[in-house]
Symmetry: none
Subunit: 213 residues, 4 copies
Amino acid sequence: MIHRRRPDPNRRSARAQTAILKATRELIGEIGYDKMSIEGIAAAAGVGKQTIYRWWPSKAALVLDMWSPEVQQQLTFPNTGDLAADLKTQIISVIDLSNDPAFGPSFRALVAEAQHDEALASQLVERIFGPRIAAAKERLRAGQTEGQLAADIDLDLAIDLFYGGFYHRYLLRVAPLTHEHAEAVVDAVLAGIGGVPLTPPKRRRLVRARPAT
Amino acid sequence: MIHRRRPDPNRRSARAQTAILKATRELIGEIGYDKMSIEGIAAAAGVGKQTIYRWWPSKAALVLDMWSPEVQQQLTFPNTGDLAADLKTQIISVIDLSNDPAFGPSFRALVAEAQHDEALASQLVERIFGPRIAAAKERLRAGQTEGQLAADIDLDLAIDLFYGGFYHRYLLRVAPLTHEHAEAVVDAVLAGIGGVPLTPPKRRRLVRARPAT
Amino acid sequence: MIHRRRPDPNRRSARAQTAILKATRELIGEIGYDKMSIEGIAAAAGVGKQTIYRWWPSKAALVLDMWSPEVQQQLTFPNTGDLAADLKTQIISVIDLSNDPAFGPSFRALVAEAQHDEALASQLVERIFGPRIAAAKERLRAGQTEGQLAADIDLDLAIDLFYGGFYHRYLLRVAPLTHEHAEAVVDAVLAGIGGVPLTPPKRRRLVRARPAT
Amino acid sequence: MIHRRRPDPNRRSARAQTAILKATRELIGEIGYDKMSIEGIAAAAGVGKQTIYRWWPSKAALVLDMWSPEVQQQLTFPNTGDLAADLKTQIISVIDLSNDPAFGPSFRALVAEAQHDEALASQLVERIFGPRIAAAKERLRAGQTEGQLAADIDLDLAIDLFYGGFYHRYLLRVAPLTHEHAEAVVDAVLAGIGGVPLTPPKRRRLVRARPAT
DNA sequence: ATTTAACCGAGACGGTACGTCTAGTCTTGAT
DNA sequence: ATCAAGACTAGACGTACCGTCTCGGTTAAAT
């Protein structure tokens, strides 16, 4: 297997890079991720195709790069002291971003592409999902010490529960994404949905049986 | 908008149809969904390309058709009287199917394609997700009357909670899918993962009667 | 080699035959011979493709059949006693027919097709060119007995000379086809174009040396 | 009307061009013009289809290009001082070329295609027929000054007469093409084939001085 | 200050697959 | 048995992009 020689980042043309990202952003808005071709981006940016291939391994990687700033700044997790409220705030902002016509559809396309592009999949986890999950876990951990979250719960599982509903609806399109849904999810996950509260105010006590395996 | 004339299903060649589905199944196993082309399917099936285009609008639609039997027979939802156990059983069987190398990767590809193919997306909801969700809801409803599930919970939300974790890991690949995970999800969703509040907001006591398994 | 069973002409549907020829005539006028397909003719005639294939071996054969009446009635060669005048009259009528937008281009297409369709080529010679050449030869023979044409000239050669100029221009498009050209050809062929008539009225005597071989 | 952007001839790959022409020559010999496809040429030449489409508008144009050298070198018209002999020599060489199984049938196909391809028709006139006619006219003009051809004859007409017979037989296949036919045509055209008139219209005497061969 | 090595725009190249078109054959049901 | 209808196998069409490659022209560092 021959490895392509790595280009020298110091000599990279800022003009070309900017033009490529700009053209990508515009094209993705006009014709969408799937109809957009590297050929088209190069033409729109007034750039040789090779210049794109030199710096990005695929169309998806380019789009991922294009969004890094947007996603990065969404990273900070609020901490007002009220875990439920903070989770709701955060998930709602994710919903809003996913409903943004400039971001939602093309990020969806990125997730789609990652289903058959292993490199992209790890990039996504590494650069997008990983950091966000880490930030969320940190907030959850704080919640645990404050007693707002079961102390012995596995945080990865907690993430699944709080965010799984979102991805279920975002990627499968089985139901719409609303602020109310986000709030209902957080409440339900925290309170649990088992049992029949015959007399509403009286709630059950959490009895978790599994000791650490 | 010109609509292509519809072919007459009565005159459809059973031989061709069978050969196409068979070739699709084989090819998808050998080279995978993405490297498989309609051209290749036609050649492998000994069929004219037009015959494929006549009956299926896209490669994805063909693959969806190919799987309908498999998914259909997975539809029945167990009811042993123990809701938690039944949910675990069902989700575990979904996990097993998704981990089946013949099914998992190509179904993932289908979900991916649905991100930019509206027609496919609705087909998926209509033929795959819809019926399964309906079956699950029916079971949940039974659980509600038996007092194993909160009577006032929105069942679409319940579905999000029980299955969201699965899709989160299946599509985003942020963590592995195991039987243990399925069980932990069900338990956590039913019990809730909120902590013991230091301050008033009184919490419920867990009243769950595990019947003998 | 399997020979296709011959259909029974007695059971042939007159309606279908008429509709096919009519549709052919109309289509050839609208979109031209080359863009016209058997598929299209069948659709326009409200006839099954098989019905066309059953009775005609090719699109060209069908078009040839369609024109047979037109060409047939052009067959009679005038005989006013003046050979030169009759030839001019005849060639001019051929030129006019070839300049008829309904006939000229599609007959050209037929001749074109005959360049790679041996069966059509012989049909053309047999049904179109042969009879016309025979009629022309008959008239030339009469001219010979009347002393208006060299008695020992090979009539096939004579046909080449009188009509060759026409086909040269008709098929190669090297120069336009006019009535004047037809007249000039006939005059030149009869008188010959060798030598320099310094004093116009005085013309040379024909001395033909080749005795019958 | 959108005009396709023109490719840069300076960057044309000599290797590809050569391979394409070579493959065309071989294929046309093996399976003939009509069964030869651009797809097949590309495959045989080890070349992308686009590379053919980039430089040639049609299969016919490609074949025309392929033959240009052959036809070009046939261009010189002999001038031995004896017009009749030179015409015979020239026409015979044309007949021989047309009877060459490598050239004759496929050039016929080219002429056929030109009947419905205006661009090809003008290319043929411009690159093949035009130059040859010009060369012939030049020779004829020389003949006129030497008194071997009627001074007042229109040279386009003369071309029609000398070559029309050839094309009549070449394209209509009404009679075979032989050297004898070529010689008979030249003799007859120069001498004329009109009979000895019984009544006045005085006729010329043949005055032709054959120089020693 | 000049060399030299990389990047750059441009686009030709070998390929693959697309979705359409037509050829000519085969099948079905109606007349 | 013919007919209308149209599904079938086959395969070429011309287009769109892929990712690689070559070509001059232009920087920017290294001599």
